[in-house]
Amino acid sequence: MSNIPEDLRYSEEHEWIRPASNHVTIGVTDHAQEQLGDVVFVELPEVGDEITRGAEFGAIESTKAYSELFAPVTGEVTEVNDSLIDAPEMLNKDPYGDGWMIRIAPAEESDIDDLMDAEAYREHIENEK
């Protein structure tokens, strides 16, 4: 069973969201990186870009497939983990740490309330099988 930290929120598209006081950090879950296999390329938005909940904001390419990333919340991108460009493997090695993707300032706090907790995400993975 993959690692699902209790203190994070989760989207149906297998992203984790770590809320802080004025921003949220977004990455992909351990389960997602297991399914993707070796990540070879990560395409991310730029600081200042607006991303919209449910819309595409980037993509991950692995040796298996090219997968689009869908935004779990709406807001402005405040920080991007540029080190993933040179070291996309961080996404496999440390999905909840150095493999984080972007930080955004959410426009709607309620977006976060709609996300799953660890328990609900665990169930979501089970149901997908």
């Binding site: 070796d38 070879v40 390329f41 040796t63 493997e89």
Partner: protein, 534 residues
């Protein structure tokens, strides 16, 4: 970097990727001939050619050519390798012996239809009337080639139930683009600007790409629970903004889209058009005429369905058939016939224009036409039946649960290919990729893997009609053996291939740190790349 084949104990396959140095004799193990890059064979001053003395005075390049265009001092990496003639011949011969193709053995690459390319196709393609024809010759001098094109267009139109066919597109995806551009031209001709194209999740991966390149927004629609698209799903997504649907039939699960006529009606009723990806036409040849199921436009892959060379073996060809209302928009020129003479018709004011230099990949057209005439209507029908029978036989034999069986994602009857899941590998630590690599050890080209995306760890197997029952049985036996190995000795599967000339390649490292050009210090680059990769 270690050059000897290291033990597999540390599981690091990179260390095992060894090549002989040019100063080592080319290694042989049984009949596996090792071969370095041609650049590594190079020795300064060695030559494979002896040229006569120049008949004109030699000139100094530095006085004849502006300095900014001169390369400067010659470097081995930007020169031509200096080798003798036998070295060149051995080099390319050995590379050709390392190659594995349908002429060597079973090549069950699902979705790609790697059927055998009959040698008679090569004989006709080499007829001097074809090989010496130049596209700039006047029409009266190329009546033969034009007649062949006209006849091939007629044959493909008859096979698919279309009003006309263009032979211009150079590949399947090129044909898709031609088709979608004709859809766009049609809508514009009736004063409409539509913005979306519907693409089922079981369509070929190129379909959404084509729609996007043609300027449309792609709306993905899910397949139904049985693996085919339901008309109500299409109806829900259909509106006046939709230019059309791109549907692959049979789809990438090998399943026939049984509601195609109903789906076409739903799309037509709202003013849309139906594009059928005909890459899998080999499964319905002589059985279903897509034009009669409501399809407005479809491409064929001559290099799949009509036995012409494929991939590295030759250029592709993606002719497109259209219904009557799309005929005015066909790429220009088209071959026309009047009073028994053939000509190229450029007077096509509503055409989407030219898509390729000259008239398509002509040599491929000769091969496909040969195949069609060799087979005849009944022969094509039997080829289709053979392809489906082989795939269904393989599917039923491989799925038997009591003895290393593989799992199907859908129970629905399938046609020319069978898709399996990775369920049989559950809790073994082995993946679909490991199975593909292990098949190499057992003497088979791996099938398509991880596609279609709607199936977990997909293995997509297409034997084609070229295989005998014996070769399919041998493949099934290999797959069962791998299923057992995954349970009993998973390391054997995870370490595969172990008997090929190259062990497991590190695809992730190759993608993350590609080295695209040989340089004398490549070994150091590789070593540092490996460190970065870790």
């Amino acid at each position: 970097m270690s050059r000897k084949p290291a033990s597999a104990e540390n599981g690091d396959h990179l260390e095992e990727a060894w090549r002989p140095r040019p100063d080592e004799p080319a290694g042989t193990t049984g009949l596996l001939l090792e071969e370095p890059l041609i650049f590594e064979r190079s020795r300064t001053g060695r030559s494979g050619a002896s040229l006569p003395p120049a008949g004109v005075p030699e000139a100094d390049a530095s006085t004849e050519i502006p300095e900014e265009y001169l390369r400067g001092e010659w470097q081995p990496e930007d020169g031509i390798p200096e080798v003798s003639e036998p070295e060149v011949v051995r080099h390319v011969t050995r590379l050709s012996q390392m190659n594995y193709g349908v002429d060597t053995g079973m090549f069950p690459l699902g979705s790609c239809t790697m059927k055998y390319n009959p040698r008679v196709n090569e004989a006709t393609a080499r007829l001097p009337g074809f090989t010496t024809a130049h596209p700039y010759l006047p029409e009266e001098r190329i009546q033969g080639p034009l007649a062949l094109m006209w006849n091939l267009e007629q044959a493909l139109a008859e096979i698919g139930g279309f009003a006309a066919v263009t032979l211009q597109p150079a590949a399947g995806a090129h044909g898709e683009l031609a088709g979608v551009l004709m859809m766009r031209a049609y809508h514009e001709s009736v004063g409409e600007q539509r913005t979306k194209v519907l693409v089922p999740s079981s369509a070929h991966g190129t379909n959404p790409a084509t729609s996007a390149v043609a300027g449309y927004r792609v709306v993905e629609i899910p397949s139904g629970p049985e693996g085919y698209v339901l008309p109500e799903t299409v109806a829900d997504a259909m509106d006046e903004e939709v230019a059309g649907i791109m549907i692959t039939n049979p789809n990438t699960l090998g399943i026939f889209e049984r509601h195609i006529a109903e789906i076409a009606k739903v799309v037509h009723d709202r003013g849309g058009l139906v594009y059928c990806d005909g890459a899998n036409a080999n499964a319905i040849l002589g059985k279903v005429r897509p034009g009669e199921t409501g399809v407005d436009v479809m491409h064929y892959n001559l290099h799949k369905t009509f036995s012409t060379p494929h991939g590295g073996g030759g250029p592709g060809s993606g002719p497109v058939g259209v219904s009557k209302k799309l005929v005015p928009f066909l790429p220009s020129p088209v071959v026309a016939r009047s009073e028994g003479r053939y000509r190229l018709d450029y007077d096509r004011p509503r055409s989407i224009g030219r898509l390729k230099a000259f008239y398509g990949n002509f040599g491929i057209l000769v091969r496909a036409y040969t195949y069609i005439r060799e087979m005849g209507a009944e022969g094509l029908r039997r080829a289709c039946e053979g392809a489906v029978l082989n795939a269904v036989y393989l599917r039923e034999k491989l799925r038997r649960q009591e003895n290393g069986g593989w799992h199907l994602p859908f129970e629905t009857d399938s046609l020319h290919e069978a898709v399996f899941t990775d369920e049989a590998l559950k809790d073994t630590g082995c993946t679909t990729m490991d199975v593909a690599k292990r098949l190499i050890d057992l003497g088979f080209h791996p099938p398509t893997v991880y596609f279609p995306l709607v199936v977990s760890g997909a293995l997509m197997i297409e034997p084609t009609e070229s295989e005998t029952r014996e070769s399919i049985d041998a493949f099934v036996k290999a797959m069962r053996r791998i299923a057992h190995e995954a349970q009993g000795s998973p390391e054997t599967v995870r370490q595969a291939p172990s008997v090929s000339i190259r062990r497991r390649l590190n695809e992730a490292l190759a993608a993350r740190n590609p080295i695209l050009k040989w340089t004398p210090d490549m070994d150091e680059q590789l070593a540092s790349g490996i460190q970065r990769g870790k």
